[in-house]
């Protein structure tokens, strides 16, 4: 089974072949778990997400299509979708204070008004990867909120009290920098 390609294994999974699913688990659980842990910062949430991702692989009717790209990219997309759903649900459940996000900006010391603190605390102990040294702090925070925590561009604009256009422009620059520095490194 170890010599099989990811696409072959997914084909077997669609035919309800249990060892194929277990092989995919062994190959990718680390990636899925790391992703979930990075997004949620919580082991129990990460476990629940891993559970949901592999259950989706097992039950999904619209499977992976090898013509559309690498399996690992497809798996990451699924993982991100499930993670963001999970994170958003958690956010809803934790909203004890009957204050809508639109009103946060009127409360001067609400933690949401200063996401930089929250995020930099989370990022403080993490070792920065090479490409990230080319990014500014606000660019890193943007990726953190947008990609990993699942906030939308307009939510981020609201939280930071900046125009939406500024956020879009920042994301554009950030992605350009990442690509320009990552591609040569990955190829080299």
């Amino acid at each position: 089974m170890q010599n099989w390609s990811d696409a072959d294994l997914m084909q077997l999974v669609r035919q309800k072949h249990r060892p194929a699913l277990e092989e995919l688990y062994d190959r990718y659980v680390k990636l899925v778990y790391s992703f979930a842990l990075k997004s949620t910062q919580d082991e129990q949430h990460a476990r629940a997400i891993v559970q949901a991702v592999f259950t989706r692989l097992w039950t999904s009717e619209s499977g992976y299509n090898a013509e559309k790209g690498l399996f690992v990219n497809w798996l990451i997309t699924i993982t991100r979708n499930i993670t963001i759903d999970h994170v958003r649900k958690e956010k809803r459940n934790q909203r004890y204070v009957p204050v809508s996000p639109e009103k946060w900006e009127h409360i001067p010391d609400h933690p949401a008004n200063n996401p930089a603190d929250v995020i930099s605390r989370k990022l403080m102990n993490e070792q920065m990867e090479k490409a990230y040294r080319y990014l500014s702090q606000s660019q890193i925070e943007l990726i953190q909120s947008l990609y990993w925590e699942g906030y939308s561009l307009s939510e981020i604009a609201r939280m930071r009290n900046e125009p939406l256009g500024t956020i879009k422009s920042r994301l554009h620059q950030t992605l350009k920098i990442l690509r320009n520095h990552l591609i040569p490194e990955m190829e080299g």
């Binding site: 778990y33 990075k38 559970q51 879009k168 690509r179």
Partner: protein, 253 residues
């Protein structure tokens, strides 16, 4: 050739790439991309960068230990979704039902639920009994002819045409059966149509075609068994879809 300066969409492309633009914006950008190779390339590069994020991040998979028991947990949730063996299996069926109800509901509702369940069971049983009785009733009920009619050719129709109709009753159902002979064969969509005439009004009672010998048979279940009529007429119609006679009368009582 298009140049970067001529495209004002630059920052909108990024929202498009991460799927955060409105449907209207998406269509607009789709349209623009079809004609602007520069923006097309830009979109591809942004997509590439977006897809790379998870692979170049502080939390490298190597630094994370996946809990060892997670695999067992995941696999058993997928492959053994049915509840684990339950001590309730050793209980009798009514104890089990009692236990489940107790888990669901406080005591007063339990009585209401039990009452409803018994009532429902009673209704179902009663219904089954009635069905059986009705079935028996039907199959043993003799059919009885309550009236017969003789049909004769209309003045300008083929003189050989004739027919008989019988109204018979079986239980509460009334059925009209017609047997007709000597009719000319129908052409194309043509069909013979039967009308029940009451107070000068005609009511459709079905259509039929004839065989090569000019013989036709029709049975018509009376939707309204109490409906009365004085006469029966048969017309030759251009098709089988009419609600009023359009063709000439060929037979009648």
């Amino acid at each position: 050739m298009e140049t970067r300066d001529r495209c004002s969409l630059s920052d909108e492309l990024v929202a498009y790439v991460i799927g955060e633009c409105s449907e209207k914006e998406r269509l607009l950008i789709d349209g623009h991309l079809a004609s602007c190779p520069f923006c097309r390339q830009e979109v591809n590069e942004l997509r590439e960068a977006w897809a790379l994020i998870p692979f170049q991040l502080p939390y490298q998979p190597e630094n994370v230990e996946v809990p060892i028991d997670l695999k067992t947990e995941v696999m058993s949730a997928i492959f053994e979704p049915i509840e684990k063996p339950d001590p309730a299996h050793s209980l009798s069926w009514h104890q089990r039902i009692g236990k489940r109800l107790a888990a669901w509901l406080p005591a007063p509702q339990r009585f209401v639920m039990a009452g409803l369940a018994i009532a429902l069971a009673g209704v179902i049983w009663n219904n089954l009994q009635l069905r059986q009785q009705l079935a028996a009733h039907h199959s043993f009920q003799p059919a009885e002819v309550v009236q017969s009619y003789t049909l004769q050719a209309a003045p300008n129709a083929p003189s050989l045409a004739k027919g008989t109709a019988w109204m018979f009753e079986k239980g509460s159902k009334k059925t009209l059966v017609l047997h007709l002979q000597g009719l000319t064969s129908t052409q194309g969509a043509q069909a013979y149509q039967v009308w029940l005439i009451h107070d000068g009004k005609r009511q459709n009672a079905g259509v039929f075609r004839v065989d090569q010998k000019g013989t036709g048979v029709l049975t018509y279940d009376m939707q309204d068994p109490s409906l009365s009529f004085e006469a029966i007429g048969i017309t030759l119609e251009p098709d089988a879809n009419g609600t009023q006679p359009r063709g000439k009368k060929v037979l009648g009582t």
